[in-house]
């Protein structure tokens, strides 16, 4: 297998990322969040009398900076996701799947009419089944 067959991304925290982009994102967000928080803390500390409230406002400013930085990162680094073709669900495959799970015609006959109607609407019923007309 050639080296360039290697897949480009790794899975971190349940989704695909480019490690270089990830490192850059973390640096950008922390570099925005922490200094803004510390600056705001100094500023509000001088302006507001209650220290705990000043800390709270500084926290809010720091978090806002984190969110803004994340928005910038979202623009810089695109998601590593691709879109599958939006095929309409294949009805025949879905019915086969349902039967494999145990959803046979006999089991279907035992269902309440409301459930049968719901399934018919989804196309999960073979037209040959008599129960549809019931």
């Amino acid at each position: 297998m050639a080296l360039n067959d290697e897949k480009p991304y790794v899975v971190v925290w349940n989704d695909a990322v480019d490690l270089r982009h990830l490192a850059a994102s973390i640096v950008i967000c922390v570099a925005a969040g922490l200094p803004v928080f510390l600056g705001a803390k100094a500023l509000f500390g001088a302006l507001v009398d209650t220290p705990s409230l000043a800390g709270g406002y500084a926290l809010l400013a720091g978090l806002a900076a984190c969110v803004l930085a994340a928005a910038v990162c979202a623009r810089l680094f695109r998601p590593k996701r691709t879109f599958g073709a939006e095929q309409a669900a294949d009805r025949e495959a879905a019915i086969a799947e349902l039967e494999r799970m145990g959803g046979t015609a006999e089991a279907f006959a035992d269902l309440a009419p409301r459930v049968r109607a719901e399934m018919a609407e989804l196309g999960l019923v073979r037209e040959t089944a008599q129960e549809v007309r019931a």
Binding site: V11, S52, C66, A70, F77
Partner: protein, 455 residues
């Protein structure tokens, strides 16, 4: 209108909108989002009624929108949505992901409306026990830690790991008290909450560890077509569920909202097993399970928050110790161990009636604002998130958020504590199956029980 009610309405609306947005982002952990943001609301000085409504509306909204990635994208919206994933995936293969979503949303709303009054009622019955429980609270936390540990995936390993974990917390807190003249709490919570992320990042930065990470191409992602919801702006949940589904959901919600020691994930799995084993036809079983499971998550979550809060004022449940921690303990505003040794938090600031009214208000706000939105725009919203918000940006934001909040509590030392706890806790979670719920309990063991044992 009283100022309390105005605060409750405003903060409820804010909580609903903020957490509806966060819920859309798949993979965000419940605890690592709800806990710090609620803490912020407390620290900013919002009155108790506003804090409570904010939290309840936020939690219920998040549980509604997290069902969207779970059902439509096949990625768990967050940790509490994991038990729903298999059934949601099966329904996706049947071409009915939108049905899965609607059943989950309807089940969640029905369960939330039942859970609030039941939980407040149970709490009022338990309240006379509050005195005795408070005197033995440290030991109750010890027992609770073992109980929660035993029911975690790690079983006995989780139970065994409570001791070293509690000692680690004690040690770090001693160092912090030495250096800062105050103990830390927020930094420990954050560390435990983001443990899995810290471990993943450490492995990714390790030259030998990187090779063990799963490699992948661009992740394929397929959005299911939508079938429309009808004309009503607020689709009646009792029309979306059939009568037996509504009854099963209500029964599960009623029963689970009297319990407050099992983790929501455990209760959800249990309720799913009991309900699922009784239904033969796969379509009916899967759709019923979506309603019952999402409903159970909701009811357990609310009960675990409200029962300890209303009855004891002590965070005696995995949810109360985790995502809802700020309602109990957010020094200097709320505390479980004040200067007089007593509790000073929502428990002492609100009456049972106020708990009932403001919690229900939170559920109703989520039901009016987020439920119809999720029913209608689920597909567009999750498509936008998957197309626009890269995972890198999300992780960056979370790391920065942790850095800022930990620094807020105690400067660089607190940040180091967060990362230490995150690394150890994350490894224990990954390797031993010691979930963050067990770790939160171990934290309380360290704070309340260890000083007594050590004398």
């Amino acid at each position: 209108m009283t100022p309390d009610l105005l605060w409750a309405l405003g903060m409820g609306l804010l909580g609903a909108v903020v957490f509806a947005a966060i819920g859309l982002v798949s993979g965000t952990d419940e605890t690592s989002t709800l806990a710090p943001v609620t803490l912020l609301v407390v620290l900013l000085g919002v009155p108790p009624a506003g804090v409570l409504t904010f939290f309840i509306a936020g939690a219920v909204s998040k549980h509604m929108t997290h069902a969207i990635p779970t059902t439509l994208l096949g990625i768990p919206g967050d940790t509490t949505a994991v038990p729903l994933l298999d059934d949601a995936t099966a329904l996706r293969r049947l071409g009915a992901p939108h049905i899965a979503l609607r059943k989950a949303l309807a089940g969640g709303l029905v369960a939330a409306l039942i859970a609030v009054p039941v939980a407040v009622g149970v709490a009022s019955l338990l309240a006379p026990l509050a005195g005795p429980i408070k005197t033995v609270a440290p030991f109750v936390f010890g027992a609770a830690a073992i109980f929660v540990g035993y029911f975690s995936p790690g079983r006995w390993a989780s139970v065994a790991a409570i001791v070293p974990f509690a000692l680690l917390v004690t040690g770090l807190n001693t160092v912090a008290t030495d250096q800062l003249d105050k103990s830390l709490s927020i930094s420990f919570f954050l560390g435990i909450a983001i443990g899995p992320l810290v471990v993943d990042l450490l492995i990714a930065s390790s030259r030998s560890g990187r090779r063990t990470l799963e490699r992948t191409g661009p992740r394929p992602f397929w959005l299911a077509p939508d079938g429309g919801t009808g004309r009503r702006w607020i689709p009646n949940p009792l029309r979306i569920l059939d009568r037996r589904q509504a009854a099963a959901t209500a029964a599960a919600a009623g029963v689970t909202s009297t319990t407050f020691m099992l983790s929501p994930v455990a209760a959800t799995v249990l309720a799913g097993e009991i309900t699922g084993s009784r239904i033969k036809h796969p379509y009916r079983r899967l759709t019923t399970l979506m309603a019952v499971k999402n409903g159970t998550t909701e009811s357990t979550y609310l009960a675990e928050t409200l029962i300890p809060l209303v009855a004891f004022g002590l965070p005696l449940s995995p949810v109360a110790a985790g995502p809802a921690a700020a309602l109990f303990n957010a020094p200097p505003v709320y505390t479980v161990k004040g200067a007089d040794g007593g509790v000073h938090n929502l428990h002492t600031l609100l009456s049972s009636w106020q708990f009932l009214v403001f919690s229900l208000l939170g559920v109703v706000i989520a039901g009016l604002v987020v439920y119809p939105f999720a029913m209608r725009y689920a597909r567009a919203a999750s498509g936008w998130v998957a197309r626009r918000i890269s995972h890198e940006a999300l992780i960056g934001a979370f790391v920065a958020l942790i850095a800022v909040v930990a620094w807020y509590e105690g400067g660089p030392l607190a940040l180091a504590v967060s990362l230490t706890v995150g690394a150890v806790g994350g490894l224990a979670n990954r390797m031993l199956g010691m979930t963050s719920g067990v770790q939160f309990m171990a934290y309380y063991v360290a704070v309340l029980l260890v000083p007594i044992v050590l004398g």
